[in-house]
Every structure is written in structure tokens, then in C-alpha cells.
């Protein structure tokens, strides 16, 4: 009996074992490789991010962020930010971790996005790294610089300020500046441990200052009288008011405390009765306090959501602004939920109490007024191009929502023009801006300064841009936020 046949069969079985191994190796290194490389537990990808250059970020033809070789092994590439503090609110930082656009566009900048890897599938196949894509922003770099300088100069020492400009027709953000800011160069990969320490320091901040949290998109302030634009719009939509309706501008006794809601002045239009337009221009608190009382906090809250209040406005995939709010209730010091009362409702109507808004949110309010009631979704990235200049993404403007009718928007725009022409901001006459001032008190008893606003649009006729400027310090919005807005808009309109 020969054993040749079984030996041959065992030989074939041994071959099958090898075929099994070959198939598995092909499966793992061929089709599974990409998933393995990006597996969340895989530490290689994190160490890897410094081994290849990231894409550039540019705005207005100016390159703002680039990767540069360090000449060292680890990190092989550093990151350089031109005018770091000026553009930090938009670019964020990168040091392995990232914030803002560096985070939101991490996979495109790092060359790992499917849109790049699929285009260069052969490179991926042979294991060659795809180059990162470049971002082109909607930001106007000169205006952004002006905004930064102005905020720096006009904000009280140790306090905060922010400014936002939006193209009302598209939603493109032209300016998003913050004071204070931080220099992403100080925490970039090439700084090593020193940078890590600096980042910790920045994260801790001092006093109310949190340099890593920008004051344009990610920080809220009480909007004060600038919120009257929202209150008016809701009242017009709901109660059929118009700009020439006669409204009471005299004393308003708050129903719960029995105290009067003070006006900044009791002369002129605020002496008893006036048209809504004039009451708005001279910012009579009582008129808008009464308006809020009449509609109730729920209506005020619901109406404000049409402007984007109550949710985090999405700027880019994975990049959101902070939430602006008109709360119907709040949590007190003991952790109990307390509904906003009547007095609180009246104060909410003039942007006080617990109403909070980001400069971006108030710019959206102005944008609705300037753009016939429609709000376009704000965005910062205009185009994404691969290294070979092919376009991977081009922003297409889309609507965030309709806040009011075209007619009411026109009337509110007129009311805003009146503020500069004959109201609280006559100091800005002839500066091609119209808007609403706001001066919110933030507990003067504990020494907190005012939150000073100017929210509006430019140019005065056929508005193209909406803006909002907020700074903290003594004095009012007309004098301390208005000129900043005018300076920024002068730069924006120059283009």
C-alpha cells in the first residue's frame, strides 16, 4: 500500500493553509488597511500628524497659516500663523489637538479626507501620503486687522470685546475678531513642551479672560438695547405694529416689584408718547419693556428662535457658535429652576435679565433686517482646494431661516437709520452705517462694567453687510462700540 496519495493530499492541504494566510494578509493589508490606520486606538495616526505638512489657510489672497519644516525628526513639521492673535478666533490652533477651523477641517488639512484619498487612490494604494488641502476663507484680512486693533484700543483693561461682519446676501463672515486673543504660534507643534505649558496657562486664563474662547463667536454678552430690534420685530409680526404706530414712552411700573423701569432720558421722544420709530431711535426702555410684557416671555423666546437664538449656529461641519438665549426660566444659586417673572420679562425685552447673545447672533439679527427678513447661514470657508488646485468644496450660500416679512424688515431698517440720523448714535452720522446701540448693565454693584453694543448694517442704503460690535467698559454703546463698527465698515467697504 503506497502512501503517495495521502502525502499529496496533505501537501495540497498545506498549500490551502498558505492560501488562507495569503488571503488574510491581502484582506488586512489591502482592504482593511485604511480602517486600521484610522482606528481610534491606533496611536500611530496621532504621532503621524507632525510627519507631513498640513494644508494652508488663506484669506483674500493672503496666506495666513502654513506648515514649515522644523529640520527636526519630531515634530517634522511645525505650523506658522501670520498675525496669529488677529485670526486666531477663526483659525484656532493646532498642536495635535486643534480648535476652530484647524479642528473642523482637520481631515482635509491633514490630507486624510476621503475626497482627497479617493482622488489619489493610487497613492493611497502604494501607501504614499496624500497632501493636505488648502482652505480659502471668506474673511477680509485688512478689515479683520482693523477690528482687532480697534477692539484692543477701545476695550477696558482686563475686559473683553468682539466684532463680527457678515455679508447679508450670502452669509459669508468677513470679520470675526476678538480681544483678548492668543497667538497660536506659541502653542504650535514646534514649541514642544514650552507650548504645552503655555496652552495650559491660556486655558486657565485670568479673571474673566479666557483667551482660548473667542469673544466673537464663542462668548455671549447681555445685548442690552440692541435686543430691542428683536423685540420690535416680534411685536410687528405678532401684533401688527409698524414704525409709525404711536407707542407709550412714558413711565412703566414693573408689576411684581412696583418699581419703575428707568429710561436713559425722559425728554424728547421718551417723554410720554412717540412713534415706534422715534422710540426705537431714542431707545426708550419703557416702550419695549411694555411690548415684552404684552407678549409674554414665551412669545419673546419663541420669536427670538427665528433669528437663531436657542441653538448653536452651525458655521461649518463641526464648527459651531455659542448658544444665544432668551431663557423662559433660569437656574438659581440653589440649583432650582425658576421661571422668568413679569419684571424679568420686561427687562428681557430690553436685552437685560438673562438674555445673552454672541456678537455673531446680533449680526444675524441685523442681517435679517438688512436682507428683507431672510437670514443666510453664516460660513467662513469659501473654497477648499487640493494641492493640485482642483476644487474639493465650494461654499454654496443657503438660508438659515426667515425672521420677518420683507415689509417689517424695511421698516426696522428705517428705524435703524433713524438711530444714527436723530437718535442715540448721531455721533456716527455720515459714516455709512446704520444700527442700534446697546448699553447693558452687568451688575454695577459688584463693579462689572457695561456691555456696549452697536448692531447694524452698512452701507445705509442698499445694505450689503451686517455687523455687531460688543465691548466691555464704562460708558455707552454709541461712543464705545459705534466708532469701532464705523472703522471696520470703512475698511470692508473699501474693497
Amino acid at each position: 500500500m503506497s502512501m503517495d496519495k495521502p502525502v499529496r493530499r496533505v501537501a495540497i492541504f498545506a498549500l490551502l493553509l498558505f492560501f488562507g494566510l495569503m488571503a488574510q494578509v491581502n484582506y488586512v493589508q489591502g482592504s482593511q488597511a485604511e480602517d486600521l490606520r484610522t482606528d481610534s486606538n491606533n496611536a500611530r495616526q496621532y504621532a503621524d500628524v507632525f510627519n507631513s505638512p498640513r494644508g494652508q489657510i488663506s484669506a483674500g489672497g493672503e496666506v495666513l497659516v502654513t506648515s514649515t519644516e522644523t529640520g527636526k525628526d519630531n515634530p517634522k513639521y511645525g505650523r506658522t500663523y501670520k498675525d496669529g492673535p488677529v485670526f486666531a478666533p477663526i483659525t484656532g490652533y493646532f498642536n495635535g489637538n486643534a480648535t476652530q477651523l484647524e479642528r473642523a477641517y482637520n481631515s482635509l488639512l491633514g490630507g486624510k479626507d476621503k475626497r482627497i484619498t479617493q482622488q489619489h487612490w493610487f497613492d493611497t494604494f502604494i501607501g504614499k501620503k496624500a497632501d493636505g488641502a488648502n482652505l480659502e476663507l471668506t474673511i477680509d484680512p485688512d478689515a479683520q486687522r482693523t477690528a482687532y486693533e480697534q477692539l484692543k484700543a477701545k476695550t477696558q483693561q482686563g475686559r473683553r470685546g468682539g466684532a463680527v461682519v457678515i455679508d447679508v446676501k450670502t452669509g459669508a463672515i468677513k470679520v470675526a475678531a476678538s480681544w483678548p486673543s492668543f497667538d497660536p504660534n506659541e502653542v504650535a507643534p514646534q514649541t514642544g513642551e514650552k507650548g504645552a505649558k503655555r496652552l495650559e496657562e491660556l486655558n486657565k486664563g485670568s479673571g474673566v479672560l479666557r483667551p482660548l474662547v473667542d469673544n466673537a463667536l464663542s462668548q455671549t454678552f447681555p445685548p442690552g438695547s440692541s435686543f430691542k430690534a428683536v423685540t420690535s420685530a416680534i411685536a410687528m409680526e405678532r401684533d401688527g405694529l409698524n414704525s409709525s404706530t404711536t407707542v407709550n414712552t412714558g413711565q412703566l411700573i414693573l408689576p411684581e416689584s412696583g418699581k419703575a423701569l428707568p429710561n436713559s432720558h425722559d425728554s424728547g421722544s421718551c417723554a410720554g408718547t412717540a412713534t415706534l420709530k422715534n422710540a426705537f431711535a431714542e431707545s426708550c426702555n419703557t416702550t419695549f419693556g411694555k411690548m415684552a410684557l404684552d407678549m409674554g416671555i414665551q412669545q419673546l423666546h419663541d420669536g427670538s428662535t427665528k433669528f437663531g437664538f436657542g441653538e448653536r449656529v452651525k458655521l461649518e461641519p463641526d464648527m459651531f457658535a455659542a448658544k444665544s438665549e432668551v431663557p423662559v426660566s433660569y437656574t438659581d444659586a440653589e440649583g432650582k429652576t425658576v421661571p422668568t417673572g413679569k419684571d424679568g420679562t420686561a427687562r428681557s425685552g430690553i436685552g437685560q435679565e438673562n438674555v445673552r447673545a454672541t456678537p455673531l447672533q446680533m449680526a444675524l439679527v441685523a442681517a435679517a433686517i438688512a436682507n428683507k427678513g431672510k437670514i443666510m447661514n453664516p460660513y467662513v470657508v469659501q473654497k477648499v482646494r487640493a494641492k493640485d488646485q482642483s476644487e474639493l468644496q465650494n461654499a454654496s450660500p443657503k438660508e438659515l431661516g426667515t425672521a420677518m416679512s420683507e415689509d417689517h424688515a424695511e421698516q426696522l431698517a428705517d428705524m435703524m437709520r433713524a438711530v444714527v440720523a436723530s437718535g442715540t448714535a448721531t455721533n456716527l452720522r455720515g459714516q455709512r452705517v446704520a444700527g442700534k446701540t446697546g448699553t447693558a448693565e452687568q451688575d454695577p454693584a459688584s463693579g462689572l462694567p457695561n456691555s456696549r453694543w452697536f448692531v447694524g448694517f452698512s452701507p445705509v442704503e442698499n445694505p450689503r453687510y451686517a455687523f455687531a460690535v460688543a465691548t466691555e467698559g464704562p460708558g455707552d454703546g454709541a461712543a464705545n462700540a459705534g466708532p469701532i463698527a464705523a472703522a471696520i465698515m470703512a475698511k470692508v467697504l473699501k474693497k
Partner: protein, 528 residues
């Protein structure tokens, strides 16, 4: 009817293929030297000094081996030696690459008085074992004589071993048991498969593997007639007699013993698979294969049910679903896996108490069995990093995988040589196995057939178990990767294996001895 072996023998040219062997050996050396050059160029930007020491050393040894083969076994299979040299050379280059002591950067850093942790990859040691391994190959080829000289006084041939079947079986058993003996045995990396002799750690299992093949071959050659011919026929299968089942049960119990006591699923699988395949070769009865597989499956199933064998269960669970076990996972009674990695609260709690293994302590508190899939996953990440063409030798980060120089050297190869390199390595293994099988077919003696078939299959099975393990085709168990893994025992045993195949292939392929007298010329002398 002519058997297949006869047909192959009839067609064999009985040519000496030494030129082919020499050319292939040159190619294997070029491959190895290029690998060393690439490591040096990638790491330090220059041709490394190691190229001369390691590559040169290997070249000299390989050519000595070649000349011994040329002189003493001229009809040997031409592929076996060059293939083994190529594997050994590439493995050496990989270990050289992983041993950071050999890089210029490190030498400069050490000269500057910086303290650097020693890594466990040890290229000089591996070079030494390569010397010993190839030395053993040469010695074995020299000592072993052709099987037709078996009866000559003082001659040792592959067939001599048949006389000492049971003695060899006993020594294989003893070798396997040695690591369990306290004092000599040592547990390294969680497996108790080592003994310490002098300053060296030896894995006796590697040698026991060869001895077991001899024992199985000797035993089965005697019993195969009875085992294959007598038995009841049930359907298509013919069942063996109970008394013939005895030995297979002994081996089965023995393998399970290894599994239980040494916690070494890989070795158990290897020996049992070897035995079943040799049984099949000897008896040609498929029923043995089914019985064998059935018994093994039953054994493993029982093992998963026993509470103190929880790790077998877990190995299978890790294999199917490794992610929750990354950096430590805890399999609860309910079958749920709770992560106890360093990011979890419970880990931090035990870490704060200075527990030696916070993950394991945390798992003990949760009442589950602890395991860590980080090794396997990191090995797979290495493969993923390599992709189709690999990062290039010296340009990847294989050091990120634990045991990248031993159990996971195949993954390290995969990272730097890519899918392409791994396919080449697997082809080399497959070729060695197939040449071994061919030798078995060509062999004239039944014992030698079983012997050659057995050693070839055990090599295939070992590659399958370890490579399948590190590529997640089957549950991971620790075995050495033949010729690649760092370690002397494995290199020595495998070089002896190649020597046996070389000698046997020479034996099978050489021309049959010519009759001294021609029948026609014979004078008939009448004494009448």
C-alpha cells in the same frame, strides 16, 4: 499499478542541480545584503558597518553550507538551502533593524553619555545563533549517511532513528515536560515553554517537535497495516478498532495536558494537527481525520466550559472582537466585556493604590477574567500602516508593537515590506513545504516518507498557527515564526529540519545503485 511515487521517480532526471542551487543562494545573499544596506541607508543615511559583519558572516556560512551540500549530498533538492538562507537572512536583517544598538544615532547618543532604555531585540545574539544553526545543518549533513548504509557499522542515517522509536518518543515527552519542572522551567511573556540552561533560555518544544515526528513515523509504520485494514464500515467511513484508538487517545490527552498545564494552545494545536495528518498519511483513512478533529473540538469546547480555563474562552472572544480589550478588558460572566484600560475610572482607582497590574486588579473586583488585546491590535495596526508596498525597511515604526522581534516579527515585516513582502515570505515557506512533500513522495522507504511528510507538514502548521494568529485569521497563540523570530532554539531546530530534508532528498533523487554484474554476461558454471 505504478504508484505516483514510482511515476515521479521514473521521471526524475537524477540530475545534480547544484548550479541552480548556487545561483539561488547568490540571489538569497543579494536579498539579505540589500536588506541590511536599506536598513542602514534609511536609519543613518549610509551603508551600515553591520553589512560586513552580519551580511558577510551569513554569506560565508551559507557558502560553507553550500559546499558541504555539493560534496556530500550532490543530488539534494536545490531549493531547500537557498530558501532557508533567504528567510534566515531577512529575519536577521529585521532584528538588526529593530535592535537600536546597531544604529549610529544611538551610538552617538550613548557616547554623549545619554541614558537610553535597552530594547529586547538583540542582533549580535541572533547572528551567533545563526552561526550555530547553520553549523548544525553542516554537521547534520556530514554525520547523516545515505539510507542504504543503514546497516553499515557506526553509520547514522535518517532511518537509524526508526530503531529507537519509543526511546525517542519518551525523550520528546520529557523535553515537553521540562518547562513545568520547577527550578529549570521559566515563564517568559506569559508562556511556560522555556528552560534555563546556564545563561541561555531554551525552548525544548522546538526540538520535541522533530523528535515527535520521528516517533509518530516509527510507530505508524509498524501499525499502519492493522489500523488501515481492520475496522467496521459505517456509511462512507470505516471506523477503527477500539484497540487501535488507544494511541490516538493517549496523544489527545497529552495535547490537552499541554493545553491545561502550559496554557499553550498553539503547541497543543501543532502536535495534534501533526499527529492527525501523519495518521492519515499512514492509514489513508479519512475517518481518522474526522475522529481527530472531533476530539480536538471536544477538548477545546470542554476547556472553554471549565472556569479555570477562562483564558481559552477569552482568547476566542478577543479574536472575534478585540476592540473592547484594547489596553485591558474584562470578560464578565454574562459575556459582556468591560474595558479596564488606563482611561477608565476603575483603573485609575487601582493605579492610585499602586497595584502592580491595575487593570487585572480592577477586573478581579468586577469578577471577570482580564485580558489585553493591545498586542494583537498593535500588530494589525503595523500591517495597516504597511499597506501594499510597505514603508520600506528602517522607515516604519515596528517598535510600536510589543514583541515585534519575536512573536510579531511577521507583522513587523508586513509594516516595512508591505503586502508584497509578506506574499513573498509566505511563498518561500510554501515552497519549502512543497519541496519537503515532494521529497516525501520521492522517498522509497515508508518510514522516510512519513518522516519527510511529517517534518514538512509541521513546518506548514507552525507557520499557519503563528502567522494566522498575528493576522487575526485564527485566535492568537504564541509560537515562533520559523527562521524569522529571534531565538536560538527555533533556529537550531529548523536548520536541523532542513538538513534532514536535504539528506533525504539526496537519498531519494540519487540514481539507483547499478547492478555490479550484467545478467547476460553471467557465466553458468555447471558443477555436475
Amino acid at each position: 499499478m505504478q504508484s505516483i511515487g514510482d511515476q515521479i521517480r521514473a521521471r526524475l532526471p537524477y540530475q545534480r542541480r547544484n548550479a541552480a542551487s548556487f545561483a539561488l543562494l547568490i540571489f538569497a545573499m543579494v536579498l539579505t545584503l540589500s536588506a541590511f544596506a536599506e536598513v542602514g541607508l534609511a536609519r543613518d543615511g549610509m551603508i551600515p558597518g553591520g553589512l560586513v559583519v552580519y551580511g558577510g558572516g551569513l554569506a560565508v556560512l551559507a557558502f560553507i553550507a553550500y559546499f558541504v551540500q555539493l560534496r556530500f549530498t550532490p543530488y539534494a533538492d536545490p531549493l531547500l538551502l537557498p530558501l532557508a538562507v533567504a528567510l534566515n537572512g531577512l529575519g536577521l536583517a529585521m532584528i538588526y533593524r529593530l535592535d537600536l544598538d546597531t544604529s549610529a544615532d544611538r551610538k552617538i547618543a550613548l557616547a554623549a553619555g545619554k541614558e537610553i532604555l535597552k530594547d529586547a531585540a538583540d542582533a549580535p545574539n541572533q547572528l551567533m545563533w545563526t552561526f550555530v544553526g547553520i553549523g548544525l545543518f553542516v554537521a547534520a549533513v556530514l554525520i547523516m549517511r545515505d539510507t542504504d548504509k543503514t546497516d553499515a557499522p557506526l553509520s547514522f542515517t535518517p532511518k537509524t532513528a526508526q530503531r529507537y522509536t519509543y526511546l525517542i518518543g519518551l525523550s520528546a515527552l520529557m523535553l515537553l515536560m521540562l518547562p513545568i519542572v520547577p527550578g529549570i522551567g521559566a515563564e517568559i511573556n506569559g508562556a511556560r515553554v522555556w528552560i534555563r540552561v546556564g545563561g541561555f533560555s531554551v525552548q525544548p518544544g522546538e526540538f520535541a517537535k522533530l523528535l515527535l515526528v520521528v516517533f509518530f513515523a516509527g510507530y505508524l509504520v509498524n501499525k499502519r497495516q492493522a489500523m488501515s485494514l481492520i475496522g467496521k464500515k459505517v456509511g462512507p467511513l470505516s471506523l477503527p478498532r477500539a484497540r487501535d484508538l488507544g494511541p490516538i487517545m493517549v496523544i489527545w490527552f497529552f495535547c490537552l495536558g499541554v493545553l491545561f498545564m502550559q496554557k499553550d494552545l498553539g503547541t497543543a494545536l501543532l502536535f495534534f494537527g501533526l499527529f492527525v495528518s501523519m495518521l492519515y498519511i499512514a492509514t489513508q483513512r479519512v475517518s481518522w481525520v474526522f475522529i481527530g478533529i472531533g476530539l480536538l473540538a471536544m477538548g477545546v469546547f470542554v476547556a472553554t466550559l471549565l472556569p479555570f480555563m477562562g483564558h481559552v474562552n477569552q482568547r476566542i472572544d478577543i479574536w472575534q472582537n478585540p476592540k473592547p480589550y484594547f489596553d485591558g478588558g474584562c470578560l464578565l460572566e454574562s459575556g459582556k466585556v468591560v474595558p479596564v484600560n488606563p482611561n477608565t475610572e476603575i483603573y485609575k482607582k487601582f493605579d492610585a493604590q499602586d497595584a502592580i497590574s491595575p487593570g487585572a486588579s480592577a477586573c478581579a473586583e468586577l469578577g471577570g477574567t482580564y485580558a489585553d488585546s493591545a498586542q494583537l491590535m498593535k500588530g494589525l495596526y503595523a500591517l495597516g500602516q504597511g499597506g501594499v508596498l510597505g514603508t520600506g525597511l528602517g522607515q516604519g515604526e515596528p517598535w510600536r508593537t510589543p514583541l515585534s522581534f519575536s512573536d510579531f516579527i511577521f507583522d513587523s515585516m508586513g509594516e516595512e515590506l508591505g503586502l508584497t513582502g509578506l506574499m513573498a515570505l509566505l511563498l518561500i515557506y510554501a515552497l519549502i513545504v512543497q519541496r519537503g512533500m515532494k521529497t516525501a513522495v520521492a522517498a522509497r522507504d515508508p518510514f522516510l516518507k512519513l518522516f519527510a511528510g511529517g517534518v514538512s507538514f509541521v513546518l506548514a502548521l507552525q507557520v499557519f498557527v503563528i502567522v494566522g494568529g498575528v493576522t487575526k485569521l485564527i485566535p492568537l497563540t504564541g509560537l515562533t515564526t520559523p527562521f524569522l523570530s529571534q531565538g536560538g532554539s527555533s533556529l537550531m531546530a529548523n536548520w536541523i529540519l532542513i538538513a534532514i530534508l536535504v539528506r533525504m532528498s539526496h537519498d531519494a533523487r540519487k540514481p539507483a545503485p547499478q547492478a555490479i554484474q550484467d545478467e547476460g554476461m553471467t557465466q553458468i558454471v555447471s558443477t555436475r
